[in-house]
């Protein structure tokens, strides 16, 4: 699982985070190291699609928040993933 869009949405699901905090969180829960270019490419796309939005701050580090659309999209994608995982394990005889 290394889709940066989904990883960022999953990271923001438990609260606002800035770029570096998102990177560290993704490394912790998915063991995926997103580079700064990949992270901000995905942040740009997610913001354009209205799935995340910047939160007001005076800091140079800009925190982002999951929007309602983002949450819905994440839930849909995770449901698909869950189904794939379930079927995969069943077919491997490990369910």
């Amino acid at each position: 699982m290394n889709d940066p869009n989904l990883l960022i949405l999953a990271s923001l699901a438990d609260g606002d985070k800035h770029g570096y905090a998102i990177m560290a969180d993704i490394k912790a829960f998915a063991d995926v190291e997103l580079g700064p270019g990949t992270l901000y490419g995905a942040i740009t796309r997610l913001e354009e699609r209205g799935f995340i939005r910047p939160v007001g701050t005076d800091d140079r580090r800009q925190p982002y928040r999951l929007t309602a659309d983002g949450r819905r999209y994440l839930e849909e994608e995770l449901a698909v993933l869950q189904s794939v995982v379930r079927v995969g394990f069943r077919r491997l005889g490990k369910a």
Binding site: P36, T44, R60
Partner: protein
């Protein structure tokens, strides 16, 4: 390395830097600098340039560079192949056909004109031919389908 990564971040489109530049630099200050980070930032910059609405000229330049490089390296490849081919064995005609197709100007001049020149000249000539083909294809594409800027 940190300085190189910062320089690479300047390759992002102006509009993107205006929106994300400050926070991106804050992130670059925090990440451990390395060649992986540099490559990632360069990839991000290319990707954003391609997506940027201001970059139609850049996209065309990028395509032209790709076509010219393809022409150059194909020619260099044939040069290497013919230079290292076993002289005792005859070369299969299909090889000549392929060389003729992929190096059309060199093929025509070799067949119909007595115009000997070095490998470097043929490489440049083939790069120019491919560039011309690339330009024509780009113009045809633009005529029939407007360029799309978003993913």
């Amino acid at each position: 390395m940190k300085r190189l990564i910062r320089l690479a971040s300047w390759l992002y489109p102006t509009s993107w830097r205006r929106r994300y530049g400050r926070e991106f630099e804050a992130l670059l200050d925090e990440v451990k600098p390395g060649s992986r980070q540099l490559i990632d930032v360069l990839k991000g910059a290319i990707s954003m340039q391609i997506r940027s609405p201001q970059s139609s000229v850049m996209r065309i330049c990028f395509r032209i560079i790709i076509f010219a490089s393809a022409g150059f390296f194909i020619s260099a490849g044939w040069g290497l192949y013919f230079a290292t081919a076993d002289k005792a064995k005859p070369i299969d005609p299909i090889v000549y056909v392929l060389a003729y197709i992929t190096e059309p100007v060199a093929g025509i001049t070799h067949t119909y004109f007595d115009f000997p020149r070095g490998l470097r000249a043929v490489e440049i000539e083939n790069a120019a031919t491919y560039t011309l083909i690339g330009l024509m294809l780009t113009l045809i594409r633009r005529r029939h389908r407007p360029l799309q800027f978003s993913n």
